[in-house]
Symmetry: C2
Subunit: 422 residues, 2 copies
């Protein structure tokens, strides 16, 4: 957990700008960044040093929202909107995770891909099944990644072959899962995961809020992704001022516990104000929001309001686990939003997309996502040797090009909280 890496070091200073330090030294002590230096200070000269030469070193990336069981059908069945897509593709696939052999094979593939990807931290949805969710947590723990994993809750408006048959059973199994996993792993923690308001009865949501308070765990869910979904929630919870207010009303949004809401494509000003007041993280999922035709979230508006925001692949609404692809999709989608819908919110720059993928989402895990002194050291070593070019490029240009053109072949090395994965 103590080492020095040398290379061209790039991280995000803030939402507007990168910090590029060429031919510099990144020092890791006890899993945390001790600093980045032009000249290696005397006190670190006894640490093992690896010189990565002309390669880039960047922070690991945080995927704030991804569905592990949906990895099995990534890139398939993309010609539908959310509610049809759930019923046709998602629910039948998720039901298979009752079978632990299937879960072992499918989650093994998911975990192996995630380990090879740009992601060092992730917030993950599993399925309703406790045994398969615990198996996924075991696999993730062994991978070296740092993650929150959620056993999904859903006890209505889903197929009988999948949903939890009663609130009683849902709460009993969720409690059992929290008891079994809250302290079991070093890198893998449980997170309460009501699928979304339409999937959970009022009494289940109230009981999940009790469990949240009892176990002190965070919450993740979906919010204002699709217009049909929003109208449905308005019918289901007529006393709520808006979709976000429904989560608040049930005690799942706000208070002292961290919370992530995926999407927020169609959140109005009142809903955004609720998120801002409560420090709720928004998981922006641009590819998913394109693929199932949800729309484009106004990310620069979120950032102007100082709502904590990160980036997400949302596999399998998104097709790919690559956070580089999520970055470029975020930029592209923001440009179309600006051109087609609303010129009051500026498109995302490359620097902002990189901020979202690193420092923005990393903040959900504490001091993560940058090379500030004291931050946990998640880092990627990038090799762009296979992306040929007729002339030299700056380190910054090479990073932009990697985001558009790179893939897992370009990830030469990876460390999470100071532990080298490869």
């Amino acid at each position: 957990m103590d080492f020095v890496w040398k290379g061209h070091i790039i991280d995000s200073l803030d939402r507007h700008s990168l910090r590029v330090r060429e031919n510099s030294y990144l020092v890791c002590q006890e899993g945390r960044c001790a600093g980045v230096f032009d000249v290696l200070p005397e006190q670190y000269r006894n640490l093992p040093l690896e010189d990565f030469g002309d390669r880039l070193i960047i922070p690991g990336m945080t995927d704030l929202h991804i569905h592990a069981p949906q990895f099995a059908f990534r890139g398939l069945g993309m010609d539908m909107e959310l509610l049809d897509w759930l019923n046709t593709h998602t629910f039948p696939e998720e039901a298979k995770y009752r079978d632990l052999d299937y879960a072992r094979r499918a989650y093994g593939q998911f975990t192996a891909h995630l380990r090879r990807s740009e992601t060092t931290r992730a917030c993950i949805f599993a399925t309703v099944h406790v045994p398969a969710t615990e198996l996924l947590m075991e696999q993730l723990e062994a991978s070296g990644l740092v993650t929150y994993v959620g056993k999904v809750n859903m006890n209505r408006n889903g197929p009988l072959y999948l949903i939890e048959p009663s609130t009683f059973q849902a709460v009993r199994e969720t409690r059992q899962w929290l008891e079994e996993t809250a302290a079991r792993f070093d890198r893998t923690k449980p997170i309460l995961t009501p699928r979304f308001i339409p999937s959970c009865t009022d009494d289940l949501l109230y009981r999940l809020a009790d469990l949240r308070a009892e176990f002190g765990v965070p919450v993740q869910s979906h919010l204002s992704e699709n217009l049909g979904e929003i109208a449905w929630v308005r019918e289901l919870v007529p006393t709520a001022k808006h979709y976000g207010d429904a989560y608040r009303k049930f005690g799942l949004l706000g208070g002292d516990y961290p919370c992530i809401m995926a999407h927020c494509v169609h959140s109005d000003e009142a809903e955004l104000e609720l998120l801002r007041e409560n420090g709720v993280f928004i998981a922006h999922s641009p590819e998913s929001n394109m693929n199932i035709a949800s729309g484009v979230a106004p990310v620069n508006r979120f950032l102007d309001l100082e709502i904590p925001t990160g980036l997400a692949t949302d596999v399998a609404g998104g097709s790919h686990e690559s956070m580089f692809r999520a970055m470029t999709h975020a930029i592209q989608a923001s440009k179309l939003r600006w051109r087609l819908l609303d010129q009051s919110v500026a498109p995302l720059t490359f620097d902002t997309a990189f901020y979202l993928a690193t420092r923005g989402g990393g903040a959900f895990f504490g001091q993560v996502g940058a090379f500030d002194p004291g931050y946990e050291l998640d880092a990627l070593v990038l090799d762009d040797g296979n992306l040929d070019h007729p002339q030299p490029l700056t380190a910054r240009e090479r990073l932009e090009r990697l985001a558009y053109l790179g893939d897992e072949r370009n990830i030469h090395g990876k460390a999470v909280a100071g532990t080298r994965l490869f």
Copy 2:
């Protein structure tokens, strides 16, 4: 040029549907498709047969619009709109192709990537420089790909270090280039390439129309990509009814010669009617239109009007030479257009995107882009062995997944007009 390939054969029947023939035989005779058969007919049993087992065999793809010199800065400098992007990135890079050593290195990389890609046919912009353009044509001829290549014409509104200094010189050099290349290659043909109306004086455009008639060559250019560009053309050619009408007025659109116009994002009904009447091909370039914030073309409207339409990567407005990525970007952009702008034009389905990439654009080259009997045989053998999955998928599902997740590693074999490239 005579062979039989066995595998799961998929091509596009029409804009609405795929044609999937599993475990079938694709027969090539004299570079053309003799048919696809469940059982190999007696008369073909003496041909060399290669059994690709569980792999997919699909038509090669046509990239209707790509800039070879811009390949060198693909994936860079994406935070600008068209006119600024041209001046900041494109023109300085294109000026380097005065230097043949630079051109050899850069075009060599471009050609090597294109050869490895899904593309078997392409319509390519070079630069204003005749020697470098001819060098590119030599490299492409050697690659085995079938292409049209254009020496670019531009004699105004560009930097002095790049533009042609006079109409006289532009015409003399274009004529020289046409004389030298019209019959020189088997697979590589010249195409007249005025950059766009703002780049060419009226007299140059009239003279290019004369050269078109004299040499009987097709034309490619840009049309209605960006709102600032369209307003500029309105000022430059006040007598034209619209941007497309300016090309018509100068004699470059219509008549007996094939023509490709890239983009048509903002074409109005009158302009589309002009394109339809004249059988002009539209090169839809979805990633480029996102990256430089141009908008999204109404592709299903083009197809409803029976305007011939194909797909394009438009490197380096697009970052990547992959036609699979162009397909998924086309689908994604069409969904955002539908959601954010105009629900009267349906989003593109996977089947339509595949049609555009194969049969749609292939038609510019004649009988190309499908496995109909008599069609020139361009084919890709696809291996998705690296995209793991916990359960079996249909051939159709595997193709959709390859479009979202695949890259050049998945291209196991490639033939162009019956000649095997690898």
